[in-house]
Symmetry: D2
Subunit: 337 residues, 4 copies
C-alpha cells in the first residue's frame, strides 16, 4: 500500500517537478493535484511531459497523508492551515514558514502572516542541518533555491568558526528560478544572451540566509551581502561565496569533507563544479578553496534550482517525514550534456 | 544476480548516456567500460556526473554478457567481431551494421567493411518495427538519431501506402548530435544563436533511412530528400516530413494511432510536439496532419537524440535481447523545463 | 537639412530596430515616436540601449515626412489612413497592406479591413522585386519576415519556370519573431532548449507567400506547404525550400546569380549559409543546390528576421521612397560571433 | 586619403571584430591582414560575414601606419618589436605589454619576455584613465576584457579613497572570451545550459587588475580576489565588485557621475544594467550602489567583451593615436534583443 500524497498548485515549475519525481517513487502515490485556473483538465493536457500521470486537476485537495504546497506566498499559508487542520502533513514550497519572525513577512513579503503561531513549530527543511527535526515534523518549510546553495556552501565554515562575519554571496541562477509567471524579464529574447544582477536593494532570500547562518553559530553576527544574477539557461544555480578566514593554517577542504561525510546529496569536490553536473538531480556540489594572496575563503556551490533548490529537497523532506530511505526516488544521475 | 554488461568507448555522448541509464537498471550491472585515451582513470574523474558509478576505464573489455559499442565507425566493426567471437551479445551504436549492402560503406563512410558476412545477420534495432528479430539476435545495429525520428514518423504512412514516394525530411538537431569531438562548427560561440543546414550533398543517414523505408513497402520506391539542420540547443531532434497523400479521405491520425497502439515509447499526439517534452526520455512523439490546401501529409516527430536516438534505444534493445521488460530503466519522465 | 521621419509604436522589436538603424542615417532625423502605454516617458528609460536617441514617447505622431507604422494589424491600417491624409508617406510594418484581396483579412486575420480602397495602391515592399514601384509609392507594405526569406529563395526558380508548382517551405525562426508580447510559448524556460513546429493548420504568412510567388509567374499555380518552427535563439530565420525541377540540365546556381546580380543585399553563396552571418544586417544569403538523387531543387536562405525581415527592409524602402542611396544606414557588417 | 592600418592574426574573435569596426571607419583603410594557417585565402572565404572586405590573408604585414596585433602572447611581443622597428604604431591586443614588471610574464604567462625594455614605454590603453598618454604613444597595450570591466567599475571608488582595500570581483563572461581555439570547455554541448567558476587559483588578468588599481591610489594596497565565471552566451561581461566603504555618508553615485562626466563610452546608469544593452557597442555601463545593511559598496559593470573589452577599445585607442575623434566608427547602438 502506497502512501497517498498531493500537490497544491501543480502547474508551477516546482510543482510539476515534484510530480515528476514522485512518479518514480515506489512507496508513494500522487493521488491529488490542484491548480488555480485549470481545474478539470487532465494533467497531461496541461503539461504533456507528465501525460503518464493519470490525474485531473482538482479545485480541492483530496484525501492524502502529506501535501506539497506550491502556492505563492500568503496563499500558501492559508491553504496550509486548512491542511494541517485535516491532519495532513505539509511541506511548504513557498516562503511562508521559513522565517521565524512574523514581522519579517511584513517587511520582506508585504503581507501580515495569517498563522504566526505556526512559525515556531515549522522546521526549516534543509535536511543536512535539521534531519532529526524534519523527521518528527508535521510542517516543513522547504528552503529557497538561493538559500540552499548559499547555506550549504557556508555552513561548515560558519559552524566551525573558520571565517569572519563579513560575507559576500554572489549567485547566478537559471531563468526557471523566476517561475512560470510571464514577465518581460524572462521573455526569451530579453533573457537570452544576457546576464544581469537584480534585487540589489535586498532580495527576499536574504533574511532567510541570514537567519539560518546565524543559527549555526551564535557568536558570529554575519553581515551578508547577497546579489543574485540571472543567466541565460533554464536550470541551475551557482553561488560563489567569499569571506576572510578567521584563522590561518586551517585545512578547509578537510573540514568541509568531515562536515558533510556520509551526506548522500552533498559532495565536496576536487575540481570547480558546474551546474550542468547537477542537472535533474538532488545534488549539491561544493568546492571550497583559499585565495592565499588575500587570506580569503572562496566556496563555489552548484545545484539544480528546481531539484535540490526545490522539488528534490521537498521529496527528500517527505522521505524523512514518512520514514522512507532519504534517497528514494532521488537516485538518478545528471542528464549531461 | 545481475547480468554483467559493458560499454566500449564510454566517453562519447552516447556512451556516457548508456552508463547513466544502466545505473538505474535493476537487473543489469555495468561491469566493464573501456576508453581510448583515458585508460586507468576513474569514470567519475573524467565524467563527474557519473561519479556514483565506481568503475575504472580499461583498455580491454572485461567479462560481460552483452556489450554496447560506442566506437566510431570501422573501429566499431573490428571490436564487435572480437566480442562476438567471445560469445558476447552486441549492440552497435555506430553505423557499422546498419546498412545491408557492404558497398554502401565504401560509398558513404569511405572504408571497406571488415566483416561484411555479418551485415545480413545484424538486426536493425528499431524496436517498433523489428521487435521479434531483435529479441533473438546476438548483433543489433542501433539506429542513427535522424533515422529514428524520420522512420518512426513515416512508417505508418509508407507501410499502409498512404503517400506518394516523393518525400522530404527536414530535420533539426541539437548540437550533441555532432558528438564530443571538437570542431569549429560546434564551438560554442559559433553554434550559439545560429541555425544552419548541412550535408546538403547527402548525409550518411540518408541510405539508412531509404533502406528501412523501402523495406516497409516493396511497391514504393521512396525518393527521399533529407536535409539536417543544426540548432542551438544541447539535445533533441525534430523532424518535419512531407509527402503527397496517395489517397483522399484517409483518417491519417487514426491510422497512425492504430499502427502504434500499445507501443510504450511512441505517442501519436494531439498537438504539435516539442523536443523538450522528450528531454532525457526514450519517447518519440509523433504528430501527423494533412495540409488540405495541397493534399500533403505533414508529420512532425520529436525525440531526445541521445536517448531514443541513441542510448535509450540501445537499452530498449538490450532489454529485449536479455529478456527483460522492454521499458526497464526507461520509465523516467522528461526533465522539463 | 535632414528629412524628418517618425515611428508609430516604437516599443516593439521591429519599431526599436528601425530606431537603431535610423540613428546612423546621415540624411534622416527620427523626429517623432509614439507608443501605446508608455506616453511621456523618455525612450532611453524604456529602452536603455536607445538612450542616445533623445526623444520622448508621444501620443500623437508629430510633423514628419514619412512614418513607419509598427502597430499590430487592424490598428495599423487605421493609423495609416490618418497619416496618408496628412500627406505623410507610410511604410507599414504590419500585414495590413500586404494582401491584395480584402477578403483575405477576414479569413486570415479575422477583421474587416478598414481601408480596402488602398490595397491596390499599396506596393509590396520587397525591393528586389518591386524597386521602381516602391520608389514612386506613398504607401509601402513591408513584407513579413518569413515571406522575405521564402520569396527571395524561390523567386528566381519561379520566375524562370525552373520548378514544378509543388513547393515545401520549412522555416526556422528565432524567438524575437514572436514579438515582445508576453506568452508562455516564448517564456525563456519554455522556449530554451526546445524546437517546435507551429501553425500547421496554416500560418498567416502563407497567403502573402502564395500571392507574391503567383505574381512572379502567371502560368505556375504554386501549391505551397509552409511550416514555421521556433528555435532557441533571439534572431534569425533560415528557410529551406524544396521543389521538383521542371527541367533537367539547368545551371541553377548561374540562374540565381544572374537573377540577383547587382543586388546590394542578396548574396548567392557558395557554401550553406548560417543565420549568424546575417546578424544585425540587411543581408539575405541564398544557397541553391540540386539533390541529384531525386531531381529536387533545395534552396536555403538566411536573414536576420528583425532587419531584412523587418526594420532593415523598411529602411531600405524608405531610402528608395526618399531618393537616397538604397544602402544608406544599412552598410554595417554582421556582429559575429 | 585614408590612413592605412593592418591586423596581425585577423582570424581570432578580437581580430575579426577589429576588421568589422574598421570597415565603417571613414578615415582609416584596413590595408593588410595576416593569419597563421590560412595565408593566401580571401578573408570572405574564411569569415563569410566579412566578405565585403576585399582582402587576402598574407604571411607578412604590408605597408601600414598602425597595426593591431591579435596574436597569442609571446608571439605578439615578437611581432611587435619588428613592427616598431619599421616605424609602425602598435596596439597590442595580447597581454604582452600590459604588465610593467617583466618577471610577471614568467610567473603568470610562463615565458621570458622578449622585449622587457619596452614595458615601461608601453601605455595601458584604458582611455578613460590614460587618454593623454595614449594619444602620444607608439605602443599601446590594449586592456584585457575582465580588467576593463573591473577597473572601470572600481576606479572612481579607489581614486577617491571611498573603499577599504579588501575587494572582491566576481565576473561573468560570455564564451567568446575564451577565444576561437577549440577546447572541451567551450564545446557547445558542454558550455550550454551551464555556469562554472574557473581559474580559482589565480587568473592571468589578476595582476593586470591589481597593477592598474594600485596606480590609481598609492595609499591603497588593494587585496583583490577575482573569480571569473563562464556563462552560456556568446558575448558580454558583467562584473560585480564588492568592497567595504571607507567613509559613511558619501554620495557614491554622484562621485561616479562626476568621475565619468563627459566620457563618451562610460555611463553611470540608474538601474542595474544588462550585458545585452552593450551588445556590439563600445559602452561600459556602471551601476554603483550601497548595501546599507553591511556598509558595502557594490558596483555592477557591463561591457561587450569583444568590443569595449577588446576590438572597440582598440579602435578607440587607434582614434586617439591617429588624431581622430575618439568615437569614430564606434557610434552604433546595441543590437537588442
Amino acid at each position: 500500500m502506497k502512501v497517498k500524497v498531493g500537490i497544491i498548485n501543480v502547474t508551477g515549475y516546482i510543482g510539476m517537478e515534484v510530480a515528476r519525481l514522485l512518479y518514480g517513487h515506489p512507496k508513494v502515490q500522487l493521488a491529488s493535484i490542484t491548480g488555480r485556473s485549470l481545474v478539470g483538465q487532465k494533467l497531461g493536457e496541461v503539461l504533456p511531459h507528465l501525460a503518464d500521470i493519470d490525474l485531473t486537476i482538482e479545485k480541492e485537495l483530496g484525501d492524502v497523508s502529506l501535501v506539497f504546497s506550491a502556492l505563492p506566498h500568503k496563499e500558501s499559508a492559508e491553504a496550509i492551515v486548512q491542511a494541517l487542520d485535516r491532519g495532513i502533513k505539509v511541506i511548504d514550497i513557498s516562503a511562508d514558514f521559513r522565517l521565524k519572525d512574523a514581522r519579517d513577512y511584513k517587511k520582506w513579503y508585504e503581507f501580515v502572516h495569517p498563522a504566526p503561531q505556526l512559525l515556531d513549530e515549522a522546521v526549516y527543511g534543509l535536511v543536512e542541518l535539521n534531519r532529526p527535526k524534519i523527521a518528527r515534523s508535521r510542517l516543513v518549510a522547504n528552503p529557497g533555491c538561493y538559500p540552499t546553495s548559499a547555506i550549504l556552501a557556508l555552513a561548515p565554515a560558519i559552524k566551525e568558526g573558520l571565517i569572519e562575519p563579513d560575507i559576500v554571496i554572489d549567485s547566478k541562477s537559471g531563468v526557471s528560478g523566476a517561475g512560470r509567471t510571464l514577465s518581460l524579464k524572462v521573455h526569451f529574447a530579453e533573457a537570452n544572451e544576457n546576464v544581469s544582477a537584480y534585487a540589489l536593494e535586498g532580495h527576499r532570500h536574504l533574511p532567510e540566509i541570514v537567519q539560518e547562518l546565524s543559527r549555526l553559530n551564535a557568536k558570529l553576527k554575519p553581515a551578508v551581502t547577497f546579489v543574485p544574477h540571472l543567466v541565460p539557461m533554464s536550470r541551475g544555480i551557482l553561488s560563489t561565496c567569499y569571506a576572510k578566514l578567521a584563522k590561518a593554517n586551517v585545512d578547509v577542504v578537510k573540514r568541509y569533507r568531515d562536515f558533510y561525510r556520509g551526506e548522500p546529496f552533498v559532495r565536496v569536490v576536487d575540481t570547480p563544479p558546474q551546474t550542468k553536473q547537477t542537472l535533474g538531480t538532488n545534488l549539491c556540489l561544493i568546492y571550497p578553496t583559499v585565495d592565499s594572496r588575500t587570506g580569503r575563503l572562496i566556496v563555489v556551490s552548484c545545484i539544480d534550482n528546481l531539484v535540490k533548490g526545490g522539488a528534490g529537497q521537498a521529496v527528500q523532506n517527505m522521505n524523512l517525514m514518512l520514514g522512507f530511505a532519504e534517497t528514494t526516488a532521488l537516485e538518478g544521475l545528471a542528464v549531461y550534456p
